[in-house]
């Protein structure tokens, strides 16, 4: 009963949050009052206010939403197909691989940024997976271990790329490894919206299948599912969505781990219910976090700092408060 109401709220939430976010920002010109005035009369500032709302805030809001949603939905699907609730695109090394690919493409322009991010993201996942695989078996611990190692390798490679290509290394490394949304614009949004939509759509279509896959390969095969094929499709979709997010916003660590668990506290582990909510709430929550970051400081701090400082305590609170069955 209670759950059902929360469920409903999560579905409705994105719209008011997106709308409200349009009115939030550090500008002293485009304040709530002045935006309201816009509907009544034309002032000298109306062009500027429109520009702030539609060219600065709107693309950032939409990009934050897409990035948050795609990280959460890929995190959830990755957890299901690897049967490992402790993983996500960050822990698997996917994010670092994608960030390296994107930075490499930006520095040397040999491939489109999105494509390069995707290729290296996929490469990182494959590397983590095959490193962890032993006797056709991938244990929870070894997958995390190899993911952390692969992530380390690609972060090191990213640092090398920054070192050789950018005279202002440290700054850009921070932007890549802690995430950034302040450079959002329509161009970035356009470059990421198609791959993210495709990835999210495929995962959405396969949402119930994730339940079957999460029971194990034998249990999937004998009820008529080809687990290898399905897992590859889902993994490519998840990589597409999260590497695109990384290519435009850098690495926002552990967000894809945290949100699926938050959602499970509401819906339970049924992926048919949780997958849509992961996208909707993942997007909304990152947007709310970014709204905070845009209001509380006059300068920009990498978004990863806020997802950790605001998201993690919330997560810990939920973890202590609810029982979703990890104890047994």
């Amino acid at each position: 009963m209670n759950r059902r109401i929360i469920h409903l709220v999560f579905y409705i939430l994105p719209l008011p949050v997106i709308l409200a976010s349009l009115f939030i920002g550090p500008s002293h010109t485009a304040t709530l009052g002045s935006i309201m005035d816009l509907f009544l009369k034309n002032s000298d500032d109306s062009d500027l206010i429109k520009s702030i709302i539609f060219d600065v805030r709107l693309p950032r809001i939409l990009l934050s939403f897409l990035v948050g949603g795609s990280l959460a939905i890929s995190g959830c699907s990755i957890q299901a197909i690897f049967r490992n609730p402790l993983t996500d695109s960050y822990i698997l090394g996917l994010s670092s691989g994608a960030a390296f690919g994107a930075a490499l493409a930006l520095a040397y322009a040999f491939l489109p940024v999105q494509l390069s991010a995707f290729i290296f993201g996929l490469m990182a996942v494959a590397l983590s997976y095959f490193t962890a695989r032993k006797n056709k078996n991938v244990s929870i611990v070894s997958l995390i271990l190899s993911g952390i190692i692969v992530s380390g390798i690609f972060t090191a490679l990213l640092t090398i790329v920054q070192f050789f290509s950018d005279p202002f290394k440290l700054q850009s490394i921070v932007h890549w490894t802690m995430g950034n949304l302040h450079n959002a614009n329509w161009v970035k949004l356009r470059s990421s919206v198609i791959p993210i939509t495709i990835g999210v759509f495929v995962i959405f279509v396969y949402r119930w299948r994730l339940n079957v896959l999460a029971l194990g390969d034998d249990e999937a095969k004998t009820v008529g599912i080809n687990p290898e094929r399905d897992k590859i499709i889902i993994l490519i979709a998840a990589t597409l969505a999260s590497s695109s997010a990384v290519a435009v916003a850098g690495i926002i660590g552990l967000y894809g781990l945290m949100v699926p668990h938050m959602i499970r506290m509401v819906t339970g582990p049924d992926n048919q219910k949780s997958i849509p909510l992961n996208f909707l709430f993942g997007g909304t929550f990152l947007l709310i976090i970014d709204d905070f970051s845009r209001t509380i400081s006059s300068f920009e701090i990498p978004i990863g700092v806020f997802t950790m400082l605001l998201g993690a305590p919330f997560f810990i609170y939920l973890m202590k408060k609810t029982n979703i069955g990890w104890n047994s």
């Binding site: 920002g25 550090p26 500008s27 002293h28 010109t29 485009a30 062009d47 500027l48 520009s51 702030i52 060219d55 600065v56 805030r57 693309p59 950032r60 005279p167 202002f168 440290l170 700054q171 850009s172 302040h182 450079n183 614009n185 329509w186 845009r294 006059s298 300068f299 920009e300």
Partner: protein
């Protein structure tokens, strides 16, 4: 083994001048507030700061340099330093570190009598000092710091006179400019400064850039009291700067910036006032060359009152004055 031996050697050597202070000994206080006393003006200097190195060349003390920052070899300023020093041109001058990483072993092996390094590199400083090598730590927040730095370098290299004359020349240049643009009466232009890292990376009120903008009779758009700051895009729209000044940028041109759709309503874009400072070497804000950038800013802000200012002539005058004969070659 080797290290402890050499450290013992240097520390023993240093204890001698302390007891018998000769008339040739020199003494300054660096930016950390640490007093540095040398028995004689330094003859073997390792200078790990590119701008500080420029200062030493201005003092014409290049023969006292035995080590430089690796940045000199890697960055866009290499061509100019190659003109200033044959050893840089031939890449024979050792580069044992930079602003970030320092190879203590290489430094010790060079047996310097002075190391010039950013004051923020505290760990490296500690290690170098452990080997008994005097360290001058630099931290530049203002134009006055630039004057102090060159003054101290004058003392440390035994070229105080030249240091003072160069400082006076620079002060004069600035005063002259400010009277030309009639600093008391103008309506101050609003400048947004853009670092190479991106449109939203700017200099706050506690930066040398801020001072530069003020010296040019303009005001800084950014009012945050930080040195380097990443701002939110809508702040930029709010500030609505008259002029956008880009630091030297190999990635983007002023035309690229003018094309960004989200900032089309800014005055600077509307009236086509986006400029890029020419080269890092010429505009180095942390050296006595800073008046060149100030003049350039003034010219962009107040074209009418600075009509007589020809930047090409200014460049030649300045380089010859600061670098002497070699400056002549630099103008080519």
């Amino acid at each position: 083994m080797l290290l402890s031996f050499s450290s013992a050697f240097t520390s023993c050597r240093q204890s001698v001048p302390n007891s018998t202070k000769s008339s040739s000994s020199v003494n300054v206080t660096d930016f950390r507030g640490v007093e540095i006393t040398l028995p004689n003006p330094a003859k073997r200097i390792v200078c790990l700061i590119e701008s500080a190195l420029s200062g030493i060349y201005m003092l014409q003390a290049e023969n006292q340099i035995i080590g430089i920052s690796s940045g000199v070899y890697n960055e866009s300023t290499f061509a100019q330093y190659a003109v200033l020093d044959e050893r840089i041109k031939n890449k024979t001058l050792p580069a044992p570190g930079n602003w970030d990483f320092v190879n203590i072993e290489s430094i010790v092996a060079l047996r310097p009598d002075l190391v010039i390094i950013w004051a923020s590199q505290t760990e490296s400083i500690e290690s170098i000092e452990k080997h008994g090598i005097p360290v001058y730590g630099v931290f530049l927040k203002s134009v006055n710091d630039v004057y102090k730095e060159i003054h101290d370098f004058g003392i440390l290299t035994g070229r105080s006179q030249r240091a003072d004359s160069l400082t006076n020349y620079t002060r004069n240049e600035i005063n002259q400019l400010r009277s030309t643009i009639n600093i008391e009466e103008i309506e101050k232009k609003n400048i947004y400064f853009m670092w190479t890292q991106g449109l939203l990376e700017t200099a706050g009120t506690t930066s040398t850039v801020n001072e530069l903008i003020e010296l040019a009779g303009a005001k800084n758009s950014c009012t945050t009291s930080q040195e380097h700051v990443v701002i939110n895009k809508e702040r930029l729209l709010d500030w609505n700067p008259d002029i956008i000044v880009m630091w030297y940028n190999p990635l983007k041109s002023p035309e690229d910036i003018a094309k960004l759709s989200e900032i089309q309503h800014i005055n600077a874009i509307k009236f086509n006032q986006v400029y890029e400072l020419p080269s890092v070497f010429l505009c180095d804000l942390w050296t006595l060359k800073f008046p060149y950038a100030v003049k350039q800013l003034a010219k962009w802000c107040y074209p009418a009152s600075t009509e007589g200012l020809n930047m090409n002539t200014e460049k030649q005058k300045m380089l010859v004055k600061l670098y002497g004969e070699k400056g002549e070659k630099l103008t080519k």
